[in-house]
């Protein structure tokens, strides 16, 4: 292997990964560029990345006035926060009990959790929808949040994590007279932040992006989550007003992408942890 082929191979390698990255990033480039183009501009020169006459203001105004973007983003934040907090409050005690306490149901629960991992919302949506419809609970935060309050995946993830925690830590706390709730709050949770962050990323990404369930239970715009709101916007903006559409997409994509760019390392760690263990 001489130096020449080495540099050639390396150049080829760099070219491939860079070219791939360029393709993967291209949609973002076009999104940002098109969000600033006037209608005439979009129709005449699709490969020109720099808008001829900047229409960012016009397009963003359209995007912000047709559908209330702030309501959408706020709904997204409220729904994701509620889901995550309840999931954690429910899953951590359960996972702790299954990992560290001896009780007969633990084994059965393990089977239930493994079965639960198989069942996505798409499979349970019909009966839950029928029940919510009967109880007049549709079109509410409750309807958006309730089915996700139990995360078997969360239980599974925390269970794996807690099993690896030393028993001595818990015994010592018990000798100090702490209750089980006290142990969870003051010993388990402070030591479980890596698992909690990983789960937070998993949960928020999943529910921020989910379209299926909100589409089913929400028909009132004021409860729409970001993906659903964008569908409404597309419907209202029928036709080819891609400038305004791209502006709306930009506003809606931005929060999670910004969070990802700021906390990349955590995201990647979280995905590897939740991914490999899931």
């Amino acid at each position: 292997m001489n130096a020449n082929t080495f540099t050639l191979g390396r150049a080829l390698r760099l070219f491939i990964v860079s070219f791939g990255a360029l393709i993967f990033l291209a949609p973002y480039v076009f999104m940002i560029s098109t969000a600033g183009k006037a209608q005439s501009d979009i129709f005449s020169s699709s490969l020109n990345l720099i808008p001829q006459n900047l229409s960012y203001v016009a397009n963003f105004t359209k995007a912000l006035t047709r559908v209330s973007m702030t309501t959408l983003l706020w709904n997204g934040v409220v729904v994701c926060a509620l889901i995550f907090v309840i999931q954690v409050v429910i899953a951590i005690p359960c996972a702790y009990a299954m990992a560290k306490l001896k009780f007969r149901a633990a084994r059965v629960m393990m089977v239930l959790v493994m079965l639960g991992l198989l069942v996505p919302i798409h499979a349970t949506a019909l009966p839950i929808y029928v029940a919510f419809d009967r109880a007049a609970l549709l079109n509410s935060y409750f309807a958006l949040v309730a089915p996700f309050t139990i995360s078997v995946f969360g239980i599974f993830l925390f269970l794996q994590f807690f099993r690896a925690m030393p028993d001595d830590l818990i015994h010592a706390a018990r000798l100090d007279g702490m209750s089980e709730i006290g142990i969870i709050a003051r010993v388990i949770v402070p030591n479980a932040w890596p698992a909690i962050t990983a789960f937070a990323i998993f949960s928020v990404v999943a529910h921020w992006n989910d379209l299926y369930w909100p589409l089913i239970v929400i028909s009132n715009q004021s409860y729409a989550t970001p993906p659903l709101g964008l569908l409404y916007f597309r419907a209202a903006e029928a036709g080819d007003d891609y400038g305004a559409l791209m502006a709306a997409t930009l506003i809606i994509t931005f929060p999670l992408v910004a969070a990802f760019l700021l906390a990349q390392k955590r995201f990647v760690e979280g995905i590897t942890m939740t991914g490999l263990k899931g």
């Binding site: 390396r10 390698r13 990964v17 990255a21 993967f24 990033l25 949609p27 973002y28 076009f30 699709s46 490969l47 429910i90 899953a91 005690p93 359960c94 702790y96 009990a97 299954m98 306490l101 149901a105 633990a106 629960m109 239930l112 959790v113 639960g116 198989l118 069942v119 798409h122 499979a123 949506a125 019909l126 009966p127 029928v130 309730a146 139990i150 239980i155 992006n209 379209l211 299926y212 589409l215 089913i216 970001p226 993906p227 964008l230 569908l231 080819d240 559409l245 709306a248 997409t249 809606i252 994509t253 999670l256 992408v257 990802f260 990349q264 995201f267 995905i271 590897t272 991914g275 490999l276």
Partner: protein, 310 residues
């Protein structure tokens, strides 16, 4: 006699232990009770209900229902839309899963062996995973636009008249597949990168000593077997995610044109939540659930047979 004397002490000890045990079991129950109740309400009960409803002709808005036995299932397999939907889902999965797995593996190995820009490349490929799919689907709709879209404008530069990616029945599944691959490569890539980093360097040195000189040999003898568990996991997740394709179809094509992009979850959604034929949609859901069960079962089987290196 000796036994009789020893007995009270023994009983005392074991009953002390059993009160501690009983208390532990009691807290175990209390701590897992909320999770159990919710698990029952939102997973077990609904699954049981879906299975039961699949044997009825229940429609939302009507009061009564009749038990119809397996009629819904018999209907499903003569229903052209459903058969089309199963077929389209299969084609989509057969494209998206392998392409996104091998593309991610290839890119991960290239990025891993390249010193420069590792975190930049990882970010670039991962960005689609963190982006709102409904939003990015809208961007792809613009990119794929037959007349004003950049993709066909680029193709025109080299004198190719591009197809109507999302509007022609012969192309729509390919268009959606491209979006699907774009969206899932980054996730697989991150998992493969983690798997690659975990391979001990000494193994490559050992393989080299044993005569594995070419990079293909190194891949065949070290990388591929060591990545086994990661690959299996990535494969399962990729297939399951591809089977669950919905967002892009709902946003861009609504199953069209002419049912050419009708996929499983979209058909279930239409039947159950638009036409409100709950019984019939439940039968479809059971089929969907069975597909997931079979996939997971296959994964467990392969996992059991796999040699564990770690």
């Amino acid at each position: 006699m000796a036994e009789a004397i020893a007995a009270p002490g023994l009983i005392g000890k074991s009953s002390a232990r059993s009160t501690a045990e009983r208390r532990e079991a009691h807290s175990g129950w209390m701590l897992s009770l909320p999770a159990l109740v919710l698990l029952f309400m939102f997973i077990l009960l609904p699954v049981a209900a879906v299975i039961l409803m699949s044997f009825t002709d229940y429609e939302l808005g009507y009061t009564g229902f009749k038990w119809v036995g397996v009629e819904n299932y018999a209907d499903l397999f003569t229903n052209r839309t459903f058969k089309r939907s199963l077929w389209n889902t299969t084609v989509y999965t057969a494209i998206v899963a392998p392409v996104s797995i091998f593309m991610a593996l290839g890119l991960a190995m290239l990025i891993e062996s390249e010193g420069i820009g590792r975190s930049f490349f990882r970010t670039a490929y991962f960005l689609p995973v963190a982006s709102l799919l409904v939003a990015m689907a809208t961007v792809w709709q613009y990119l794929f636009h037959p007349t004003i879209g950049p993709v066909n404008a680029l193709l025109r530069l080299v004198d190719i008249e591009g197809p109507n990616w999302l509007g022609a029945s012969g192309y729509v599944l390919y268009g959606l597949s491209i979006i699907g691959v774009w969206q899932s490569v980054g996730f697989n890539l991150v998992l493969f990168l983690a798997g690659l980093t975990a391979i001990p360097r000494e193994l490559y040195a050992a393989a080299h000593v044993d005569g594995a000189r070419s990079s293909w040999d190194r891949f065949r003898l070290v990388t591929w077997p060591m990545l086994g568990p990661t690959t299996l996991f990535v494969t399962t997740i990729s297939i399951i995610n591809a089977v669950k394709v919905f967002e892009t179809v709902k946003t861009l094509t609504e199953g069209g044109p002419n049912k050419a992009s009708e996929v499983l979850l979209f058909t279930i959604y239409q039947e159950g939540f638009v036409y409100l034929r709950v019984g019939y949609a439940s039968a479809m859901t059971v089929v969907f659930l069975l597909i997931l069960v079979i996939l997971m079962f296959l994964q467990y089987r392969i996992q059991d047979r796999q040699v564990h290196y770690s």
